[in-house]
Amino acid sequence: MTRTSARALAVTRPVIQVLIVLNVLYGLVLGALLCFSFFIEGWPERPLGFDLVSKHPQLSLGLRSIVLIGVTGAVIVHTILRRLLAIIDTVRGGDPFILDNARRLDAIAWSVLALEVLRLIVAAIAAAVWEPGRIDAFSFAPWLAVLLLFVLAGVFTHGARLRDDLAGTV
């Protein structure tokens, strides 16, 4: 391991821990907002300060759906960060090529895929509520990242098997 990557690894752990805390706070705030929205009279036009509901009648439902998807996204991001932290711990322990890490990467790939699907759902809701027929949320990079993560999970599975073989070789 080079000095730069060792430093990067040392920094990554606290950064991810901070991100986990921030993400939990984000999820809690979104959940609280969603709950409060049912008890605030004249939501959402009163808190916003202007009337959008008369122009877009499905606005309240759309906003609540998007917030609910946001909470779901926060839960998914939490699982991604926890798994990433576990992978980093195995790298720090000097033993990253294990089947557990391959499974973690596979799960992360599925989670990123789920996040992308959620993003498309949010765009579809926004399009249905505000601008019918206009969905421009597709981005190529996240889907490429999903593919790369699946490939990486495959590489880790193969690497873990090779390492397992080598462990019993004299």
Partner: protein, 73 residues
């Protein structure tokens, strides 16, 4: 594992310890112990060559196949 390692017998016949052999073929005692106790999954030709050279024996003197034993993974 149906492969039986006779390293202990070969060492005993030459009054040599595992530590002596490990020092002469430059392999750790821990690894040789894995081989001796039959826990190894594979053996490198280079290791086999080095052991045969020091013990002046053939690979067949060190390894045997016993069909009565259960097969390994």
């Amino acid at each position: 594992m149906a492969i039986v390692v006779h390293l202990d017998e070969q060492l005993h016949a030459r009054r040599m310890t595992l530590t002596d052999l490990a020092a002469r073929i430059d392999i750790t005692v821990a690894n040789l112990s894995i081989l001796k106790t039959g826990k190894a999954k594979a053996i490198r030709f280079s290791t086999l060559e080095a052991i045969c050279a020091v013990l002046e024996c053939q690979p067949g003197d060190l390894l045997a196949f016993d069909p009565a034993l259960p097969p390994g993974e």
